[in-house]
């Protein structure tokens, strides 16, 4: 999967989880940039991304990803 392909799918996941079709994420997007992305919604997002790409994030990764770019790095490594 290329990073572009990952982003197409990832945008769909973000739009679905946060119920906002205008969301578009990039490498530098963080929780600060998306209004509803807070500590309460974080795991909903993680689980949705895991399901969409058929991968698993470790607990360490779940709590320490700095931005969407870090998330995409892991997806690219695991989703093949």
């Amino acid at each position: 999967m290329t990073r572009d392909e990952i982003y197409v799918k990832l945008n769909e996941v973000f739009q679905d989880v946060f119920d906002d079709e205008d969301i578009s994420v990039n490498d530098s997007t963080t929780a600060d940039d998306i209004e509803d992305w807070d500590s309460l919604e974080h795991i909903n997002l993680i689980v949705a991304v895991e399901r969409a790409f058929g991968i698993k994030f470790s607990m360490g990764e779940t709590t320490s990803m700095k931005n969407v770019g870090a998330m995409v790095d892991i997806i690219a490594e695991r989703a093949g």
Partner: protein, 504 residues
């Protein structure tokens, strides 16, 4: 040894001298005898408990983080270590609060009521146990590589400044601090001494005076009614904040003298505009810890994911996805309450009541969305209202926190609307009220200066104002020390009570 005692200051002076006499390369290892000595001052059993936790979590971390062991074995190693340490903590805490149970255990163990376990309770076991369990989980989750050198781990596990009341450190951060080269610097001394003096100011000038009001009002609900209740509850909010954050100032300041930075635990909490924001500003390291090691793992567990799937089908996507969040929050807040002390007044006052505030806020969010534009929520008057509302909700929790038990807290709330049965008299002179009021004003000004509306922004540093202005730095130090010496409640015939959180 209390952190606000002359003995402690002497101890710090000795540690700092020995620390900087040691060659730079071995400087951090000079902390080991300091840590051991500090534990010994608290009692030899304290040292035994700390060492037991350090040894077991060191071994547990090695096994949990060893990649050549299968995941089942690693999980088992982590589970055994956590159960052992957490079990010990629960046993000691439970033992400490359940008198009847304690007596029975004493009989079984054949020891007197002044037993060895009693010595272990006040040393801040709640703090170091959680910190060390966090290390084991970090190894298991491969956030860090397990430490192979026991002595390096011992410095982290028994680091004396945090031992009594936190803040809760992460191994990755604190070990990086230990590993830096530590050279004597005047800047560290300036910052450290200002922080320590500010901690003494908060504890000895504010907390101890506010404590006199609190003790009187909480002591007799029949006499102290109406406005006295308001005064007592507000005084406790001031006492608890200055006591705990003052303790953190001393701890962080001492660590600064050793050129080791520790995370901040408070960020102008009483200016929070919501309960969620309040918990991001009050006891910050505990909140972060429980989010990372309890709340997130719970929500990510297959059981909670399944509950989410079922509830989405039952209540629709938007409402259904909140159900596991609410459930996890009830567990999280019960844990926070229990951690403060295994009795209902803490579970309600520091736990479930706050859970109720947050969950009901989330449930009412659609309504708030509609009324926000009408109330002009982006304007200052509404924001001030939010600050006041949050503070009042926090005060309600504190009523339970400070009262002797739940029924006592309810009596206290009833007393708010009752007539006094006698003459109320608080043993505090007018001069003391003036000193307390002036000191609280200074504290408010400092917190207001530090306050940034967004809690994730780095707070403004008052100490940074002294950069390049040595005269101002000295003036602040001299004024703080003079204020503590003149107005502090200490000295012969007066024993400053120990820090509230040091007995948690």
């Amino acid at each position: 040894m209390s952190l606000v005692s002359f003995e402690f200051l002497l101890f710090i002076a000795a540690v700092v001298i020995v620390y900087y006499i040691c060659p730079v390369k071995f400087r951090k290892f000079a902390l080991i005898p300091a840590n051991i000595a500090f534990c010994c001052f608290a009692g030899i059993y304290t040292l035994a408990f700390v060492l037991l936790s350090v040894i077991t979590t060191f071994t547990g971390g090695l096994l949990a983080g060893k990649k050549t062991i299968k995941s089942g074995g690693r999980n088992a190693a982590a589970a055994v270590t956590i159960i052992l340490n957490f079990g010990l903590l629960c046993a000691v805490k439970f033992y400490g609060v359940m008198d009847i149970f304690a007596e029975r255990l004493n009989m079984l163990l054949g020891v007197s009521s002044e037993s060895w376990l009693a010595f272990a309770v006040p040393l801040g076991m709640s703090f170091y146990t959680l910190q060390l369990i966090g290390y084991v989980l970090d190894c298991l989750w491969e956030k860090i590589k397990p430490e192979k050198n026991f002595f390096r781990y011992l410095i982290f596990g028994s680091y004396f400044p945090y031992l009594t009341s936190g803040p809760m450190n992460r191994y990755a951060d604190l070990s990086a601090e230990f590993d830096r080269e530590h050279r004597f610097s005047l800047d560290n001394f300036k910052t450290g001494i200002i922080r320590i003096a500010w901690g003494f100011f908060k504890k000895l000038i504010i907390a101890e005076r506010a404590g006199v009001i609190v003790k009187a009002v909480y002591g007799d609900h029949a006499v102290y009614t109406g406005w006295y209740v308001v005064l007592g509850v507000a005084a406790f909010a001031i006492q608890l904040y200055t006591d705990f954050s003052g303790c953190m100032d001393v701890v962080i300041g001492v660590s600064q003298l050793l050129d080791i930075r520790m995370p901040e635990n408070f960020n102008s909490p009483y200016f929070a505009r919501s309960i969620r924001e309040y918990w991001r500003r009050w006891h910050i390291t505990l909140g972060d810890y429980l989010a990372d090691y309890l709340y997130y793992p719970l929500l990510k567990s297959s059981l909670f994911v399944k509950i989410g799937d079922v509830s989405k089908k039952a209540f629709g996507k938007k409402k259904g996805k909140k159900v596991p969040i609410y459930l996890a929050m009830v567990i999280l807040w019960t844990a926070i309450g229990y951690w403060h002390g295994g009795v209902w007044k803490y579970i309600i006052g520091s736990g479930l009541l706050h859970c109720f505030y947050i969950v009901s806020g989330m449930l009412c969010e659609p309504l708030f969305e509609k009324i926000r534009p009408i109330l002009k929520s982006d304007k200052l008057p509404y924001q001030l209202f939010q600050v006041l509302r949050t503070f009042v909700l926090v005060l309600l929790g504190f009523v339970f926190f400070r009262a002797a038990n739940v029924s006592d807290a309810i009596q206290m709330l009833k007393a708010l609307f009752m007539r006094s049965a006698g003459e109320a008299a608080i043993d505090l002179t007018l001069a003391n009220y003036i000193v307390l009021g002036a000191a609280v004003l200074i504290l408010t000004a400092v917190d207001l200066y530090k306050f940034r509306p967004k809690d994730t922004d780095e707070p403004r540093s008052v100490i940074a104002l002294t950069n390049g202005r040595p005269v101002l730095a000295w003036l602040i130090i001299v004024l703080l020390i003079a204020a503590v010496l003149v107005f502090g409640m200490y000295g012969l015939g007066y024993n400053a009570s120990s820090f509230i959180y040091a007995s948690i």
